[in-house]
Amino acid sequence: MQVRAAPDSLSEKVEQSIKEAQEACSDDPASGECVAAWDEVEELSAAASHARDRLKDNDPLENYCKDNPETDECKTYDN
């Protein structure tokens, strides 16, 4: 079973990509390399943000109750 990348390694990728972009742009800020490097930073930053959101969504009780609403832990009494 495939496992999602751990957010930590994504954070490292973001950090690394920023350094690389700064290097690529120090030679020629108008070059394709520079622009592509910052685009990679954007892509990784977005991925890191989505990964953080997914972590927020992973409450074990909420996930269990989604599939088993009739169990004692999950019953809600609205009336």
Binding site: Q2, V3, R4, A5, L10, S11, V14, E15, Q16, I18, K19, A21, Q22, C25, S31, G32, E33, C34, V35, A36, A37, W38, D39, E40, V41, E42, E43, S45, A46, A47, A48, S49, H50, A51, R52
Partner: protein
């Protein structure tokens, strides 16, 4: 996207048992495809060529057109997966034709053939100041980022954005424009937003939302004797306009809701919402009170657009079932 798919009932989720990094979302009625899956160049490829993802050269529009056309005609496709974590193109996943297909991404309206397949299109137009504020909120928590790196990334991508992405908005049936508020002088926090829903006139199956009197120009502050609002309040305006040479109607909301009674009060004064019952917009907004934009025009207009799409879908399916009946009568 969650607000949009939620109008049809159920939450759209990634396909179970497949690639965990799939970008696709599936619910009973809808399938949402991320157009990054049609990248012809992966992250390494783009780096080598010195090209951004915004550049058409990084995307396979022929494949995009083929597959969207196939799905629209009821044929399943094996669609590639662009893995945003690894930056690689993963083996394809099977996509079955849904009742409602949503394609989202950087270039939904770029290719004319794909554009012509769309029954409805939306462009989310975020102004520069708001984009910068949102990216700061998103990225400052990430170590390695600073104000400078966030700014540099936006600026490096701006030429491609202006050349390839922004021009698509002229083709959209609805544009949601997000701007800084005009209610707070010298506001630099970017928390209160001014949002404009620009709706094209004359689009088949689409009747624009209006305030009070269709086709007239209206300015409305709902806060007063009947409704108390907290600072900075809410200001609506509505009126006809032209946008890239097209006739449009624009509904605008500046400010924030902070209570349920403000939301229902506003809903009761809007017309042509395509709701199925009084209070449906408010109910949808409350259902997703934890989503971003729930207290301003972004959440409100995305919810309204969802209802408009439902209306469009029902009209189109009704006309499809009516046609064969007429054929047999003759």
């Amino acid at each position: 996207m969650r607000r949009l798919t939620s109008v049809f009932g159920g939450a759209a989720e990634p396909p179970k048992g497949g690639n965990p990094d799939s970008n696709t979302l599936i619910s009973d009625m809808t399938t949402v495809i991320c157009l990054d899956d049609y990248h012809s160049l992966d992250r390494t490829g783009r780096k080598e060529k010195g090209v951004t993802a915004l550049d058409p050269r990084a995307n396979d529009f022929d494949l995009m057109y083929e597959q969207v056309k196939a799905l629209k005609s009821g044929i399943a496709v094996d669609k590639p997966i662009y893995n945003h974590v690894s930056g690689l193109l993963d083996p394809p996943e099977l996509i079955k034709p849904p009742k409602i297909l949503v394609i989202e991404g950087l270039h939904p309206m770029f290719d004319e053939r794909v554009r012509d397949l769309l029954d409805f299109s939306i462009y989310l137009d975020i102004s520069n100041e708001v984009k910068f504020a949102w990216k700061i909120q998103r990225d400052m928590a990430e170590r390695g980022h600073s104000l400078e790196s966030i700014k540099a990334s936006i600026e490096a991508r701006k030429p491609d954005f202006d050349a390839f992405i922004d021009p698509q908005k002229q083709y959209a049936d609805a544009v949601i424009e997000v701007l800084p508020t005009q209610l707070i002088p010298d506001d630099n926090e970017g928390k209160v937003l001014r949002v404009r829903l620009i709706m094209k006139e004359g689009v088949e199956h689409f009747s624009p939302v209006y305030l009070f009197d269709e086709g007239s120009t209206v300015s409305w502050i709902p806060c007063g004797r009947k409704l108390t609002c907290s600072y900075p309040g809410i200001k609506f305006s509505y009126g006809p306009d032209t946008y890239f040479g097209h006739e449009v109607s624009v509904l605008e909301m500046d400010g924030q809701f902070d209570r349920l009674d403000e939301l229902i009060y506003v809903e009761s004064h809007l017309s042509n919402l395509s709701t199925k019952f009084y209070g449906e917009v408010t109910q949808q907004m409350l259902k997703h009170a934890d989503f971003p934009g729930s207290n301003n025009g972004t959440g409100l207009f995305q919810t309204i657009v969802g209802l408009k799409i439902r209306d469009l879908y029902e009209q189109i399916t009704a006309s499809k079932t009516a046609a064969p009946l007429q054929a047999t009568k003759a």
